[in-house]
């Protein structure tokens, strides 16, 4: 790749790197792994930059991040490096930090594809069709996975509604 193309790639990373790092973190739930995921995705993008740069490269990087995160999570589940996660016992919620941890733990505990759906739909604000394209599944699958994920999140944080809790802790 030549100098000007490197410059274009560098400008893209400078502009979107942090945003993509946040997607990676939400997809995998770990700071270090998020950095590794992002670097892996950007390396692939760099190797294909002569093709990708003519289109909007961000969706491509996002797709690599999410699918790599899912692939790694599957492998880990099989390797049992991470034991089957049990949603945490409901703690006494004294601070907003506790609440945030409960919700983030519940998010991490979702199956990898469901977690990816939540991140893409509610963090990246992508539509069902766009999310389906990234995950290589149908829009109907995205819809059902999102619904199941939200049900699990609601269940994990208890019968009381999240918004009520958040209002309480921020009050």
């Amino acid at each position: 790749m030549s100098g000007p193309e490197d410059d274009g790639f560098a400008a893209f990373v400078a502009a979107r790197g942090t945003s993509l790092l946040r997607v990676a973190y939400l997809a995998c739930g770990d700071d270090r792994e998020a950095e590794d995921l992002l670097q892996t995705a950007l390396e692939r993008t760099y190797r294909k930059w002569d093709r990708v740069r003519y289109d909007n490269p961000e969706p491509y990087v996002r797709r690599v991040i999410v699918n790599t995160a899912i692939s790694r999570a599957r492998r880990r589940a099989i390797l049992r490096i991470i034991p089957t996660h049990t949603p945490p016992e409901l703690p006494v919620r004294e601070t907003d930090v506790d609440l945030r941890h409960v919700l983030m733990d519940a998010l991490r505990a979702l199956p990898p594809r469901q977690r990816a759906v939540v991140v893409l739909r509610y963090w990246e604000d992508l539509g069902e069709t766009q999310t389906a394209e990234i995950l290589g599944c149908s829009a109907g699958t995205v819809k059902s996975q999102a619904s199941k994920a939200l049900t699990k999140l609601r269940s994990a944080i208890g019968a009381q509604s999240v918004e009520g809790l958040i209002r309480n802790v921020h009050a």
């Binding site: 790749m1 560098a10 990373v13 790197g17 942090t18 790092l21 946040r22 973190y25 939400l26 700071d31 998020a34 992002l38 670097q39 950007l42 390396e43 692939r44 760099y46 190797r47 294909k48 002569d50 093709r51 990708v52 740069r53 003519y54 289109d55 491509y60 797709r63 690599v64 692939s71 999570a73 599957r74 492998r75 589940a77 099989i78 390797l79 049992r80 945030r100 919700l103 983030m104 199956p111 990898p112 594809r113 469901q114 939540v118 991140v119 509610y122 963090w123 389906a132 290589g136 149908s138 829009a139 109907g140 699958t141 996975q145 939200l150 999140l153 509604s161 999240v162 918004e163 958040i166």
Partner: protein, 294 residues
């Protein structure tokens, strides 16, 4: 609303994250290093051909023994050639320039219209179960690519058969995954019936297992990992929905083996040829079990 609160929590949780200032440098350095290794690898074969050195193909394909690196050869690859005494002497050479990228980039990162979808990437599908059509959906990540087939050819429909092909870096990840199936956490061979089994498909080997792929419900995804030579592995998956339609475990395994048998490379990669099985399923018997644990 839960969705809004999720957004808020996710924003709070990621607010501290910033991309590292040297990220671009690391990415470019790492990519170039990988590309240089690949270029050297090709150059070894080219240089050997130019100077008339007889290097066994297997040696070149195995890469390692043919390339010498060390402090004196930093940035330069070396060819191992026999000297007059028959011992190996490193001969430095300049790697050829990198190929010029195509001036007409493809705007899409899928394969476009594949007709019946049977030829995609660098492989060709010789057999599919009756009644399936190409889903019109494919993805191409460069060193990994995939497409699928279902009943109605609907892009938004559920898949019945999906094939992933892993090459390059993706191949390593796929092999690690298969190894994790083969051995338990203590490194012992997994002979439990619930685990996978080694199979041979014609002159190739494969690993048959039901994967848990993270979705809720269903009884998993029956999958055949097919070794397609040193540079490629195919992952053939049957969806849990399609498995129900097939009925029995025997039928599922038979179909997976037949699809694997018919899957061939289109780039002439060695060790990747096989015959397309007959549509009546008579060839499934060619796929025989091998001792587990390899």
């Amino acid at each position: 609303m839960l969705e809004d609160d999720l957004r808020q929590v996710m924003a709070d949780e990621t607010a501290h994250l910033r991309a590292a200032p040297d990220l671009v440098d690391r990415v470019i350095r790492s990519s170039r290093r990988r590309r240089t290794v690949r270029t050297r690898y090709v150059a070894v074969a080219a240089a050997a051909a130019v100077v008339g050195i007889t290097v066994p193909a297997g040696l070149i394909l195995a890469s390692g023994p043919a390339v010498v690196s060390g402090p004196a050869a930093e940035g330069v690859a070396a060819v191992v050639s026999p000297d007059s005494t028959g011992s190996a002497v490193p001969q430095p050479f300049e790697p050829p320039p990198l190929p010029t990228p195509s001036p007409t980039p493809s705007p899409t990162l899928d394969f476009g219209d594949l007709s019946d979808g049977k030829a995609f990437g660098r492989v060709k599908v010789g057999y599919l179960p009756d009644g399936l059509q190409w889903s019109h959906r494919s993805s191409d990540w460069g060193d990994a690519y995939t497409t699928s087939w279902n009943y109605d050819g609907d892009k938004n429909g559920f898949y019945c058969v999906q094939i992933f092909v892993h090459e390059g870096q993706a191949l390593q990840e796929a092999r690690e995954r298969v190894q994790s199936y083969r051995f338990d956490s203590k490194g012992r061979s997994s002979r439990d019936d619930s685990k996978g089994e080694e199979v041979t498909i014609g002159d190739r080997t494969g690993y048959l297992i039901t994967q848990w792929v993270g979705e809720d419900g269903g009884k998993g995804t029956p999958t055949m990992f097919l070794d397609m030579g040193p540079e490629r592995m195919a992952e053939i998956m049957l969806s849990p929905v399609f498995v129900k339609d097939l009925g029995t475990r025997e039928a599922v395994e038979r179909e997976l083996k037949k699809i694997a048998q018919g899957l061939t490379a289109t780039d002439g990669d060695p060790g990747t040829t096989s015959e397309a099985p007959a549509a009546d399923g008579g060839d499934a018997g060619k796929a025989t079990e091998a001792p587990a644990g390899g």
